[in-house]
Each structure stands twice: as structure tokens, then as C-alpha cells.
């Protein structure tokens, strides 16, 4: 048995790493939308999801997924997992809605 203390993957302060890339990018509309969705879910008398749950969901992502996703992609993965976990929505409902939006967009574009 190892006596090395367990470190959760996201908790990487002080770990060896390269320089931080300071480049910025324009916030995409879908990123703003994710931000707005979280606020709508949290800022109610009884929150549906709080920022603490969002953080926990991000911190629970498998290491490889955590490393491969961008900032707001992690939010999406976490929010999806949390609303399914809490029984607010099912994965099937989310997938049906996404398929409907995709179909409507395709129709608009045609």
C-alpha cells in the first residue's frame, strides 16, 4: 500500500507544469449561453443546480476527459451529469431535445 496522499486530478496547484498560456479568445455565443443556463438554474428560491454542484461534477470527470475538454465543455459535461443524477432530466430527454433543435436548424439552413 502506498502512503502517498491522494490528490484529486483537478487539484493541481504546485504540480510540475509548463508556462501558462496568457492568450485570450472571444467568448462564443454558446459559451455565454451555458453561463446563462447555470445562472437560471442557480438563482431561484430553490436552486436546481448550484455552482458547487457544477464544480463537483467537473471534478468527477474522468482524468482524460477533464484534460481534453475546454472550460465550458467541462461545464456542459458536468451540468448534464448533475441534472441526470438529480432526476431533473433524463439523458433521453436531453438527446431528443438536441435532435429536435438540430433538425430545426437544418430546416432553417435549407
Amino acid at each position: 500500500m502506498s502512503d502517498t496522499p491522494h490528490r484529486m486530478h483537478h487539484d493541481m496547484g504546485g504540480q510540475p507544469a509548463g508556462p501558462v498560456g496568457p492568450s485570450e479568445h472571444e467568448i462564443e455565443p454558446w459559451e455565454k449561453r451555458i453561463e446563462a443556463i447555470l445562472r437560471c438554474m442557480q438563482l431561484r428560491e430553490t436552486p436546481i443546480v448550484t455552482v458547487d454542484e457544477l464544480r463537483r461534477g467537473i471534478e468527477e470527470l474522468p482524468t482524460t476527459l477533464y484534460d481534453s475538454l475546454t472550460y465550458y465543455e467541462r461545464w456542459i459535461a458536468s451540468l448534464t451529469n448533475i441534472v441526470v443524477e438529480k432526476g431533473v432530466l433524463t439523458r433521453a430527454e436531453i438527446e431528443q431535445r438536441m435532435a429536435a433543435i438540430k433538425a430545426a436548424r437544418a430546416k432553417e439552413a435549407a
Binding site: P5, R7, G14, E53, E59
Partner: protein, 102 residues
Amino acid sequence: MSWGEGIASRFKPGDKVHVAARYPVRGHIRTPFYIRGKTGVVERICGQFHNPEELAFGKYDGPEKVLYRVRFDQKHVWPDYRGGPSDKVEIEIFEHWLEPAK
């Protein structure tokens, strides 16, 4: 009005505190890995808040916990620190992560 006024806290500014060396494998922990097991001094009481570790699992009505700002010597936190010998790092830590330091 000063910080922490009227809050029943276990520690007060100036108290020497030790951060618990606990290493959970799951959950939402606001105490950074690198500061666990270290010793610092309470700089101020920040207030009291619901426990993020409970909020993270949808428990929104648990008791509030006192949050402290704790000051540590950089040299103590990072043995290979190359900055000035009096440099400090301040971290906000909830009361249940702190123990009195000898």
C-alpha cells in the same frame, strides 16, 4: 464594523492553526491539496457560509461554517521557494479543516 464581528468562531485572528491532513477521494473540497498538513496563522474571519462540501451534493440547508483567511509562509509551503524569506500566501479555509497548532 470589522470582519467576523458577532460570529462565534473557534479561532481568532493571530491564532496558530494546523490544516488537517485529510485526502478525500471524492467530493468538492475547497482546501487545496498543497496546503493540507501545513501550519499558518489566522489573518481574519471572513464570515460564515453554507458548507460547499454539502452544497456540492445538493444539500442546501446545512449549518453554516466559519471561513477564515489563513496566512502561511511561502518557505514553509514550498520547500524550494526562491522568493523573499518573508513572502506569504493567504488561503481561505473553513473551520472544520483547521486544528489548533502547538
